[in-house]
C-alpha cells in the first residue's frame, strides 16, 4: 500500500469512527463535579446514554439524570430531545438509550395499552413496574412525588367568585349552573376516557350539560387566566404557566386522573450490570416535587432560560452536584 493510499484509508477510518461517536449522542452540555452524589465504584467510566422526549419538562429531567450519573463518575452521552413518546420508548427497547425518566401513567396507557388508569399512585406504579418487567423486560426504579397529569384550573378571581376548589365542587356547579362553569378543553382531553368523559362519570355529572369550548392546548392557559372565554380550563399540573399566570389547580378529591409519576427506567440487562444506578438516582428522584418542576418549567418556558443550565443550577442549589 502506497503512503498516499494509507493516508486516505486512515482518513476514511477516522471519519467512520467520529461518525460512530456522533451516532451515540453528544457529550453532557455542562461539566459537574461530585456533591452529595459521590463517585460510585460500579459506575466510574461506564458509558451510559441518557434519553428524553422533546418537550421542556422531559428535557430538564433528562439533564438532571445526566448530571446525576456524571457526578457519580459515569461517561454520560446525551440523547435528550427525542421527538415523541413512541420514538423514545423505541430507542430504549432497542438499546440506543440506556436510561430515561418515564411516567407511570404514560406507560400504563400508551405502552401497555390500558384504557383506564389506577386511582392509587402506589398501586399504579406497582402495576406498571410488574407488567412492563414481565412483558418487555423494563426495570422501573422507585418513582418521584411529582405528578404531571391532567387537572382543571381556574383564575384566582373565578375561584373566589364560585368558591370551587375541588372537582366535586366543580361537578356540583356544572349540575347547578352550567353557564357559570364554561370549561375549555382540547380535542384529546375531550375524548379520552382518562380525560373529560371519565372525569364526568367519576364525579357524577352529565358531560353533555357542561359547556366545553374546544381550544388549542396552549391557548387554554391564557383563556383561563383571562376568564372571559372560559371559567375553567384543562391544564397539565406541572406546566410553568400555572405559576406565571397565577392559576389555581382544582383538587382531584376522588383521585380520578391517571398518575404520571417519574421513574428512572432501563432494560433488565443494563440494571443487572449496573445496579448502583438505583441508589445514586434515588435521592434526586425523591426531590422532584410538582412545585420544583413547575418552577423549572417556568424558568425555561416563560423566562427563556436554557434547560441544561436550569437543571444544573437546581442540582447545585440542592447540593447534589457542584458546578465546574
Amino acid at each position: 500500500m502506497s503512503p498516499r493510499r494509507a493516508v486516505a484509508v486512515l482518513a476514511a477510518l477516522t471519519l467512520l469512527l467520529t461518525a460512530c461517536g456522533l451516532g451515540s449522542g453528544s457529550t453532557v452540555p455542562l461539566q459537574v463535579g461530585p456533591g452529595s452524589i459521590k463517585p460510585t465504584p460500579g459506575l466510574e467510566g461506564v458509558k451510559i446514554t441518557v434519553g428524553s422526549k422533546e418537550y421542556t419538562e422531559q428535557v430538564i429531567l433528562g439533564y438532571i439524570l445526566e448530571y446525576t450519573l456524571a457526578a457519580a463518575g459515569a461517561d454520560v452521552r446525551d440523547l435528550t430531545g427525542i421527538v415523541g413518546s413512541r420514538s423514545t420508548r423505541g430507542a430504549q427497547l432497542s438499546g440506543q438509550v440506556d436510561v430515561a425518566y418515564e411516567f407511570t401513567g404514560n406507560a400504563w396507557i400508551n405502552y401497555l395499552g390500558h384504557e383506564k388508569p389506577i386511582g392509587d399512585t402506589r398501586k399504579q406504579f406497582e402495576a406498571v413496574r410488574d407488567e412492563d418487567l414481565a412483558r418487555n423486560g423494563m426495570v422501573w426504579l422507585e418513582p418521584g412525588p411529582m405528578d404531571d397529569t391532567y387537572a382543571l384550573a381556574a383564575s384566582k378571581r373565578t375561584v373566589e367568585r364560585t368558591g370551587v376548589r375541588t372537582l366535586s365542587e366543580y361537578a356540583a356547579l356544572v349540575q347547578r349552573d352550567p353557564a357559570a362553569a364554561r370549561t375549555c378543553v382540547d380535542t384529546e382531553f375531550r375524548a379520552r376516557q382518562d380525560g373529560f368523559p371519565g372525569m364526568a362519570a367519576a364525579y357524577g355529572f352529565d358531560p353533555a350539560r357542561a359547556v366545553t369550548p374546544i381550544l388549542q392546548v396552549g391557548i387554554i392557559y391564557q383563556a383561563t387566566a383571562d376568564g372571559t372565554q372560559c371559567d375553567f380550563g384543562e391544564v397539565f399540573t406541572t406546566d410553568g404557566r400555572i405559576a406565571a399566570l397565577d392559576l389555581a389547580v382544582l383538587t382531584d378529591d376522588k383521585q380520578f386522573f391517571a398518575h404520571y409519576n417519574p421513574s428512572v427506567t432501563m432494560k433488565q440487562s443494563f440494571f443487572d450490570a449496573h445496579p448502583e444506578i438505583a441508589e445514586v438516582t434515588a435521592p434526586v428522584t425523591a426531590a422532584l416535587t410538582n412545585d420544583v418542576v413547575i418552577e423549572l418549567n417556568k424558568q425555561v418556558d416563560v423566562e427563556g432560560r436554557d434547560p441544561s443550565v436550569v437543571a444544573r443550577d437546581w442540582m447545585v442549589s440542592r447540593g447534589f452536584v457542584t458546578a465546574r
Partner: protein, 258 residues
C-alpha cells in the same frame, strides 16, 4: 374584437366537453366516497374514546360547522376581494394596488395557524368569527388577483366602444368590464373556496369547530379511524366546493361567452 373574445373564453374552462362530464361525475363520486368512509367508520367495534367523536350527532354537527365556516369565508372573500379588485383597477386608484396585493400576499404567506393564535391573543376572544377571519384573509388572494386580472384583460377597444356609445364610467364597469371579468373572478373564487375548506380544519383551535376536531383527535390519540374519517370528509367537502365553483362558472358566466 376577436382577440378579446378568445382571451375571455380561455377564462371560462367550463365550456369543454370534458369539463361538462366532470361537472356531472364529480358530485356522484364525492357522495360515494363520503358514504363509504362514513359506513367504514361507523360499522366497526369502536372504543368508548372513539365513540366520543364518531357518533351521528357529532359528525353531522362538525360537517355543518365546517360548511358554515366555509360559507362565511366565501361571503367575506367575495364582499372584500371583488370590490377591492375593482377599486385598484380604477385609473385614479392604481397606486393602491401594490398595497392591497401586498396585504393579501402576506395573508396567504403567513401560516394560518399563526394568524388564528395571533387574533386570539389580540382580541382575547374565541369562537366562530375568530376562526373565520384569519381563514378569510388567508383565502383572499386568489379572488383579489383574479378580479384584477379579469378587469385588466378587458380589451381597450371594447372600452372605447362603450365610451363611444356614451356610457358613463359606472355603466362601463357594470356592463362591459365586470361581465367580461366574471369568468376570471369565478376561477379565483373556486381556488379560494378549496383553500378555505382545507384551512378551516384549523378553526377548531379557537373554538370554531369543524372537521379539524376529528383530524386532531385522531392524530393525537393515534386513532386512525377518527383521523381518516375527518380527513376524507374534509377532502369530500373541498371537492364539493370545487364542484359548486365549477357550476357557478358554467351558469353565472356571461351567456355570450359560453
Amino acid at each position: 374584437m376577436s382577440t378579446a373574445t378568445e382571451t375571455a373564453t380561455a377564462g371560462a374552462p367550463a365550456t369543454t366537453p370534458a369539463e361538462r362530464i366532470r361537472l356531472f361525475i364529480q358530485p356522484v363520486l364525492v357522495l360515494i366516497v363520503a358514504a363509504a368512509v362514513v359506513f367504514w367508520a361507523f360499522d366497526r367495534d369502536l372504543t368508548a374514546t372513539q365513540k366520543e367523536n364518531i357518533n351521528a350527532g357529532n359528525v353531522a354537527t362538525l360537517i355543518w360547522q365546517h360548511l358554515l365556516i366555509t360559507a362565511a369565508v366565501t361571503a367575506i372573500v367575495v364582499l372584500v376581494g371583488v370590490p377591492l379588485g375593482v377599486l385598484v383597477t380604477r385609473p385614479g386608484a392604481k397606486a393602491l394596488r401594490p398595497l392591497f396585493i401586498g396585504i393579501a400576499n402576506v395573508g396567504q404567506a403567513a401560516p394560518a395557524i399563526g394568524l388564528l393564535v395571533l387574533l386570539f391573543l389580540l382580541t382575547a376572544r374565541t369562537g366562530f368569527w375568530i376562526g373565520v377571519a384569519p381563514i378569510a384573509l388567508y383565502s383572499l388572494l386568489p379572488v383579489l388577483s383574479s378580479t384584477i386580472l379579469g378587469i385588466d384583460q378587458v380589451d381597450r377597444s371594447l372600452m372605447d366602444a362603450g365610451l363611444g356609445q356614451g356610457m358613463s364610467r359606472v355603466a362601463l364597469l357594470a356592463r362591459v368590464e365586470l361581465p367580461l371579468a366574471v369568468p376570471y373572478i369565478l376561477a379565483g373564487l373556486r381556488t379560494s373556496l378549496v383553500l378555505a375548506v382545507g384551512t378551516a380544519t384549523l378553526s377548531f383551535l379557537v373554538n370554531a369547530g369543524g372537521l379539524g376536531i376529528l383530524i386532531d383527535t385522531g392524530y393525537k390519540l393515534q386513532d386512525n379511524v377518527t383521523l381518516i374519517l375527518g380527513s376524507v370528509l374534509a377532502v369530500c367537502l373541498a371537492l364539493l366546493m370545487d364542484w359548486l365553483g365549477g357550476l357557478a362558472e358554467f351558469y353565472v358566466g356571461p351567456k355570450g361567452l359560453r
